[in-house]
């Protein structure tokens, strides 16, 4: 708590996994109501998974923030250290992104087909879309880590912004 540590984010990730597992192992995970054949999540499991998701995103960005911004800031300008490895990673990830976006469009065209009754392969669509978002996030992270000049400000406490 005194600095941008990794203890709480790690704990959040472990706790998130535990909550997901609790929901998943619950024998009422996907209930099939008698009236229809479509399974649905119970309210309890939605609650467990909602907290698990928040903790996952929090833990992930917490660790990333420690990697990108460090645990303590020091005022001044800090030059990045670009090297060829992040460059290669950036190119590979960008190519992967282009490939996935093509694949994503394919899933949409597939879903827009009256012959198969407008069937949405939701897990596949969301998986590809989710992967694209993660890759974009990684690209920005790499760019920030290796190519942006970092600046740390020591602002006056009585700054007059916005008034």
């Amino acid at each position: 708590m005194y600095r941008n540590d990794t203890v709480v984010p790690y704990f959040a990730l472990v706790f998130s996994a535990a909550l997901f597992l609790t929901a998943y192992l619950n024998d009422r995970f996907r209930v099939v109501h008698e009236a229809g054949a479509v399974p649905h999540l119970t309210v309890g499991n939605i609650g467990l998974m909602a907290f698990a998701l928040v903790l996952f995103v929090y833990g992930f960005i917490g660790l990333l923030s420690n990697w990108l911004e460090g645990s303590e800031l020091r005022p001044g300008r800090h030059e990045p250290e670009p090297s060829s490895l992040p460059m290669v990673a950036g190119v590979v990830l960008s190519l992967l992104l282009v490939m996935l976006s093509g694949f994503f469009v394919r899933t949409l065209i597939f879903a827009n087909n009256p012959e198969i009754g407008y069937y949405n392969a939701t897990t596949l669509q969301a998986g590809v879309f989710g992967a694209m978002m993660f890759i974009l996030a990684l690209l920005i992270a790499i760019y920030k880590k290796f190519f942006i000049e970092e600046e740390v400000l020591a602002e006056d406490e009585k700054g007059d912004f916005p008034w």
Binding site: G44, M49, V54, S71, E72, G127, A131, I140, A154, P162
Partner: protein, 428 residues
């Protein structure tokens, strides 16, 4: 182009003032941002939903319902689910609502545990409490819109609680639901629709803006090492480009993770229960209402009396009195734990054992009352549940207080001296 804009709008000045505002760095600050991004996701996915949803219960039929006559609102949900990626976007809207409430709750816990509500941030704490209540109310008004048997029955539990408020309950629920909530009231869905997509989101936007402006004006609390690095100053990264990059990354990670879950586990598939029928399925309200539902389960039905024409029954005690007391208690926190000194730095939860164990006790209360919501499913007796709801939170709080004090010995109530660990010299 830049020169042209700068001449007219002085954007250079805007950059110097706004874009170079310093943002302190700490992982716990991301919880507020996750709440904010959930709201933004809700607005974006909500716009898509409004383009395809029909707020009416007039009977319609078509290929999507297999020729069967169903309410138009229900049919339009089947239509949204059939659009390419439509089912995922609708599910994402539903999941983002749950996540916003969970994130706002965890954000509130972090504010409480680190003492960030103290002078001068009392006002923002109060705005925050209203934001949480409003977020829950917005989610509640959206629940019935698909107009399936499940949503209607679950909303009815809330409707009955609202109507149980003495004297004004009936009036308030009439305003919210345009009369009685029933499968045949044609006015309810248009009313809920207007409130859910227009009035509550507009109020949320206004309050969130106020929350953020107050936060920027008052400056954020900082991790304590900053006191050694530059005393009396805000040590942080400029909004542009660094903070903006972190926010962009967080938004993408958030959207990536929630979309994946939303697609893999479709929330609220309307076909599971079908359109409203005469028989009501056994359903529970959403998890954030489950604790209230649990309290209602254990209050005996004969706790009831009449006063000046109003009935004070179990639904009043459990559904209105207890939540109102909790909200009032939350609003009072910054004034009960008042500090004359301005709060500049995050406090260590372990060095504030009373506050921390109080929070643990309150969490236990929510968990136990949620458990009471499963009274019938788990076959738990009323006596046992009363003990779990009232005694276990107190015992947990007391035990954690004793434990924290024992672990930290004499220094239990002092903030620890910070040793700088990061690279580079400290400046004055």
């Amino acid at each position: 182009m830049y020169r042209w804009l700068d001449d007219r709008l002085s954007i250079g000045k805007l950059y110097a003032k706004a874009f170079r505002k310093a943002f302190p760095v700490h992982h716990s600050f991301f919880l507020g941002e996750i709440t904010l991004f959930s709201f933004i996701t809700l607005v974006l996915t909500g716009i898509f939903l409004t383009l395809n949803y029909e707020p009416s219960i007039r009977p319609v039929s078509g290929p999507l319902s297999g020729g069967q006559e169903v309410p138009a609102a229900y049919y339009s949900i089947l239509y949204i689910d059939s659009l390419p990626f439509g089912a995922v976007i609708r599910s994402l809207h539903h999941w983002a609502a749950h996540i916003m409430i969970a994130a706002a709750f965890l954000h509130m816990l972090r504010i409480h545990l680190t003492g960030a509500y103290k002078n001068p941030r009392e006002l923002n704490w109060i705005v925050g409490v209203f934001l949480l209540v409003l977020a829950i109310l917005t989610a509640f008004t959206g629940y019935a819109l698909p107009f399936d048997n499940y949503a209607l029955t679950a909303t009815k539990i809330g409707y009955e609680i609202g109507a149980a408020a003495p004297w004004v309950g009936k009036l308030l629920s009439d305003i919210l639901f345009a009369g009685e909530l029933s499968p045949t009231n044609t006015q309810t869905i248009p009313r809920l629709y207007s409130i859910h997509v227009l009035w509550l989101p507009l109020t949320l936007i206004a309050l969130i803006s106020l929350h953020l402006v107050i936060m920027i004006k008052q400056k954020h609390t900082q991790p304590r090492y900053a006191e050694k690095v530059a005393p009396g100053k805000i040590v942080g990264v400029p909004l542009f480009p660094q903070q903006a990059a972190m926010m962009g990354i967080l938004f993408l990670v958030y959207i990536g993770a929630t979309t994946f879950i939303a697609g893999a586990f479709l929330a609220h598939p309307v076909e599971a229960f079908g359109p409203p029928t005469a028989n009501t399925p056994a359903v529970k309200p959403d998890w954030y209402f489950l604790w209230i539902y649990g309290i209602l389960q254990i209050i005996p039905a004969n706790w009831r009396f009449e006063f000046l024409g109003a009935t004070f029954g179990p639904q009043f005690w459990g559904g209105i009195l207890v939540p109102t007391l909790i909200i009032l208690g939350a609003l009072a926190i910054p004034f009960l734990d008042y500090s004359k000194e301005k709060q500049r730095y995050l406090e260590l939860p372990s060095r504030h054992p009373f506050r921390t164990s109080f929070v643990i006790g309150v969490l236990m209360f929510y968990i136990m009352s949620t458990l009471a919501g499963y009274k019938v499913d788990l076959g738990l007796s009323n006596e046992l549940l009363w003990v779990l709801v009232l005694v276990v939170p107190v015992v947990t709080g007391v035990v954690s207080y004793i434990l924290i004090k024992a672990i930290y010995g004499k220094e239990w109530n002092q903030e620890v001296q910070v040793e700088l660990r990061g690279k580079g010299p400290a400046t004055d």
